[in-house]
Amino acid sequence: MRIHPRLFKEARKNGLLFLLTALASFLAGGIAVIQSYQLSRVISGVLIDQRTLKEVSSILLFILLLIFSRVVLTIISEALAGRMTIAIKQRLRAELLDKVNRLGPEFLKNEKTGELTTTALQGVDALDAYFSQYLPQVLISVALPLTILAVVFPMDLLTGIIFVFTLPLIPVFMVLIGWASEALTKRQWKALTYLGNYFLDTLQGIATLKMLGRSKERGNEVRDASERYRLATLAVLRVTFISALALELIATISTAVVAVEIGLRLLYGRIAFQQAFFILLIAPEYYLPLRNLSARYHAGMTGVTAAQKIFEILDVPEPARQPVLSIENLEQVFRTDYRLRVSNLYYSYPGMGSHSIQDISFCMQKGLHYALAGRSGSGKSTLARILLGFIEPQEGQIWVNGSQVQAYSLEDWRRFVGWLPQTPFIFNDTLFNNVTLRDTRFSTSDVERALRLAGLAQLLATLPLGLHTPLLEGGARFSGGQLQRVALARIFLRQPSLLVLDEPTSHLDPGLARALDDTFKTLLQDRTTLTIAHRLSTIAQADEVIFLKDGQIGAIGKHATLLETCPDYGAFIHGSGVLA
């Protein structure tokens, strides 16, 4: 019966609740023992001493009192265990969110969003059974049998010995059988997951099946796969259920042995009836905690599995940034004719052998427009993400005038840096909140001005709820071009001095795209920009092109110059399949 050390530590953080829970349920168990003892007194009195109801009524009333206190203690212990669990879950969720926020969007790449959602919601909920049932039960299944032993031993040595020797058999058998069934499950695992997922796989791919004319037949295959799944599962269950069988057998056979043993000794007058009857009453109670524990074992282990996922995330190392300079310094810097100098940057993604970018150095001058060009995988977006602080370079620095960018906190840095991704995220929220992102510094008139600059003034006038129009999930109310403009309004609202853009590649309506171009011009005015370029015109119009090749600087210069001087650049431009 393993206890996960870190989960135990979590429980200790709510130590008082945990202690009270364990205490209340232990007391309830102790009262059960006393109740059994009183019950044996009643039966013994009536049976042996021929007492009447009147004579035993005081004991019966005492039992009633015991029952009530047991009920109250049970309610208290369950309610407290539930409270403790909820508190732990809340704390873990908050820690997870905080952690993900510190790790940033980089951590959510590779479809981690779904996994993380599952971990933070269902994963944390899976701890319910662990904290509210399994963990208290572990303590009880140690404490209560020990208490019963302490009561039984002085009363009857032989029964005490039987109790002592049979109880450890339960965990021993459980572990042995657990190993066997685990091995079997592992051997069957591939077949079980394949067959178990067959139905979902079929439903997910039903459009493809229909296109291929196979959807009718697949119905029969679904049945066959389910049937094979049934047989394979039953084969595993046959073994897994043996552990419950062993447990049951040990508990019931021990009870039977005790019953026969005390019965025979009663027969020869070696034990008093009341003692014997008490032992009979207490025998099932003695095995009950361990039986309950094994019934909750599975739920407990599910919790442990979920916990491993949670702690895995909480243990991911964070990029450290120790801000030493204040925002005033940065304000000062951005007021000047600043110069941004990137020097010898290296970055490699975790788990990838080679560097994604290496030895990247270049300069940016206030108010100029830079285009990042290169094949996909050449490190363009890695570089952009470093500038935005989503990832920290492993080597090298970024300097702004005389100070290092890493010397400012991310929050301060991002006040001066804007980001326009290819597909900006639209929240299921009002237009107003989608522009301000719930930043309370901005007023209605600020937002209206930003929307006007983004070319959305006309649209805004037609909206019945104005700024408070909900944009619906994924921005369903607006067209693709309009959503782009909402993202532009976010930038106009904040007027960042430095702007990083990833040019959209998707096929916007050509008319819309051209209309957007004008807004883009306004956006770029008087701003330092670095654009991940997907269009030739962007490259051609840039003040400087930074050409990346295999993670390194291939060349830096004006488009026309590079075409003449850099053969790699020429190959990149001409090899891009453009028709003359």
């Binding site: 019950l39 009643v42 039966i43 021929q50 009447t52 109801l53 029952i67 049970t74 909820i86 993900v100 926020n101 940033g104 969003t113 959602t117 919601l121 509210s132 997951t193 394949y194 997922n197 796989d201 039903i206 493809t208 959807s215 009718k216 389910s226 799944y229 049934r230 039953l234 269950l237 259920f241 049951e248 019931t252 009870t255 039977a256 026969v260 019965g263 025979l264 009663l266 020869y268 014997a276 009857f277 996909s376 929050e411 991002r414 929240f427 299921n428 992102l437 930043d439 309370t440 976010r490 096929h507 309506d509 050509p510 269009r535 431009i573 090899g575 891009s576 399949g577 453009v578 028709l579």
Partner: protein
């Protein structure tokens, strides 16, 4: 409740196993009661020191019950799980049969992304309906009746007390508990759904949130949702705690009441003191039979909701009368769209409007247009996945809506925009396109789809596992695999949705050349921006906001200017960086 009836009908098919599992379940609980009952008898009798022979029967009984209880329980679990899995098989089979004709439109609605998850969850709930609800209820009823009769045999009052105690504890109390906890449970599941939606949104938008330093309000909103969930959970925890306390109270009060009433009866000589000991222990042990009832009541509630949801999915789809079939041996197959107008349910404006065009065999047609212009909807229409509200689509002069859907689809080989690979071997995934294909044919199709280098890198060849749990494949590789499927099918029309989007120009060119040489006489509908491919088309249709604004060959469209010229210029301006 009507939905649950369906599950009961399925259970009837396996009535033998159901019956066996119920008998075993009753036997297991009865053996537990028997163990304590005979033990009590043994000890109480022994106290009067009779001859050992008088105790033999009791001793044998104790041993028998001690061993049989575990064995019965083990067998009962095996049989009832077998019933469960039978039910699961039948539920899935039924569900598939119900849903298949209207799929994918009925399974993948425009907004409901979690539809499949819900289906899987509901089926799981229904799968357990027998084991969690029916079996415990039946077993509890049988035990209640049996024990009450047994105790009633000593004295009628005692039997009634027992029946009342178990009835309250097993049926009335759980029913009340479900009733009271209903509203917090519903509120909690709503709060959880809201928290989940907000969490997904926060994570997906984290980049934007962080860039604008907006972490605080978004995280706070999320934590607020979690806090509300916690409040509801606390309410439920309290309710459940009181409920377990009450269950304990009913058990022991019943035993106490039996003693209170039974002791005077015993003193009056209606039964012996030994019987009183037996009655006490039998009563105590009997409550095991009702211990699962609160959970059963909750599960009944959940099952009813799940069953009703399942039913509506099946009934949503309307069945079109499909009578006509078209003969296979047609000289020049022809597909025609005539004044087609199509609007998605709940959409404000039509996705496609006034669509006219014709494709014949040996003729290459391309469809270009911005994302959201309606290209994919058009493909869904001709696959009979969706139905136009106005106008008609005709295949060889027969309206698609009047054809058998399977039959109509068998004219098209399709490379869809997002390629689905089944969790199966490479062979299994390819053979879906041609069941009787030899390995050579499959490999030759892979080669024609420019996948031979990839294929040769696979140590397990055609047995390589692909799909969710298999080897990782890039977008381009998946598309080429779908192209291999297209090449394996011998269909009159070929529909390709951006087949070269993830390929480098040289490979794209090679793959398309292979297609053109292998299938010269097919009718081709190509959705693409590839200017090289567009140049070879017999007709280009320019789709803009759901209508065809321009049509013709590339050179004439360029001369005419307008929309296509813009697309051409934008495409020329694009850097192909793959």
């Amino acid at each position: 409740m009507k939905g649950l009836w369906r599950v009961c009908i399925i259970l009837k098919e396996f009535s033998g196993q159901v019956f066996l599992s119920l008998i075993l379940g009753v036997a297991a609980v009865a053996a537990g009661i028997g163990l304590l009952g005979t033990s009590a008898f043994l000890i109480a009798s022994a106290a009067f020191q009779p001859s050992i022979a008088e105790l033999q029967v009791a001793i044998v009984g104790v041993r028998f019950f001690g061993i049989s209880r575990g064995v019965f329980r083990y067998l009962e679990r095996l049989v009832s799980h077998s019933v469960n899995l039978h039910v699961l098989t039948r539920l899935r089979e039924d569900f598939y049969k119900r849903v298949e004709p209207g799929a994918p439109a009925n399974l993948f609605s425009q907004q409901g992304g979690d539809m499949l998850q819900r289906v899987m969850g509901d089926l799981e709930t229904l799968e357990n309906f027998y084991i969690r609800t029916i079996a415990p209820v039946v077993i509890a009823l049988v035990i209640l009746a049996g024990v009450s009769l047994f105790i009633g045999g000593y004295a009628l009052q005692l039997g009634l007390i027992m029946a009342a105690g178990m009835g309250i504890s097993g049926f009335i109390h759980p029913a009340l508990a479900v009733f009271i906890s209903r509203s917090p449970i519903i509120q909690l599941s709503r709060s959880k759904a809201a928290a989940s939606a907000r969490l997904v949104e926060t994570l997906q938008g984290l980049e934007d949130i962080q860039v604008y330093n907006a972490q605080a309000p978004y995280l706070e909103a999320l934590l607020g949702e979690f806090r509300w969930s916690a409040v509801l959970q606390k309410r439920l925890v309290n309710l459940n705690a009181v409920s377990s306390g009450l269950a304990l109270l009913f058990t022991h009060l019943t035993v106490l009441l039996l003693l209170w009433v039974g002791i005077p009866l015993g003193s009056a000589g209606q039964f012996s003191g030994i019987s009183l000991a037996v009655i006490t222990l039998v009563a105590l042990a009997s409550f095991e039979a009702v211990s699962a009832m609160p959970a059963a009541a909750l599960h009944l509630n959940a099952s009813a909701a799940a069953a009703n949801r399942q039913l509506t999915i099946g009934e949503e789809m309307s069945v079109y009368p499909r009578l006509t079939k078209t003969p296979r041996n047609i000289q020049r197959p022809e597909l025609a769209f005539e004044a087609v107008r199509f609007t998605y349910p709940n959409a404000q404006r039509p996705t496609l409007e006034d669509i006219h065009f014709k494709i014949t065999s040996g003729c290459k047609t391309a469809l270009v247009g911005a994302s959201g212009a309606g290209k994919t909807s058009l493909v869904n229409l001709l696959l009979n996945f969706e139905q136009p509200q106005e106008g008609s689509i005709q295949l060889n002069g027969v309206k698609l809506a009047e054809m058998d859907a399977e039959e109509s689809r068998s004219w098209f080989a399709v490379l869809p925009q997002s390629v689905y690979l089944f969790n199966d071997s490479l062979r299994g995934n390819l053979a879906l396109a041609k069941a009787d294909a030899s390995d050579e044919e499959l490999i030759s199709a892979l080669r024609a789809a420019c996948l031979s280098a990839w294929y040769e890198s696979l140590p397990e060849g055609l047995d390589t596992w692909v799909g969710e749990h298999g080897v990782k494949m890039s977008g381009g590789e998946r598309q080429r695999l779908a192209m291999a499927r297209v090449l394996l099918q011998d269909r009159a029309f070929i529909i390709l949705d951006e087949p070269t989007a993830n390929l480098d120009p040289a490979t794209a060119r090679k793959m398309m050349d292979q297609l053109f040489t292998r299938s010269p006489n097919k009718g081709l509908l190509l959705i693409t921006y590839d200017l090289g491919l567009l140049r070879e088309m017999d007709e280009i249709l320019v789709l803009s906001e759901g209508t065809i604004t321009q049509r013709g060959r590339m050179d004439s469209l360029l001369k005419a200017g307008g929309e296509f010229k813009h697309i051409f210029e934008m495409e020329n301006n694009k850097i192909r960086d793959s």
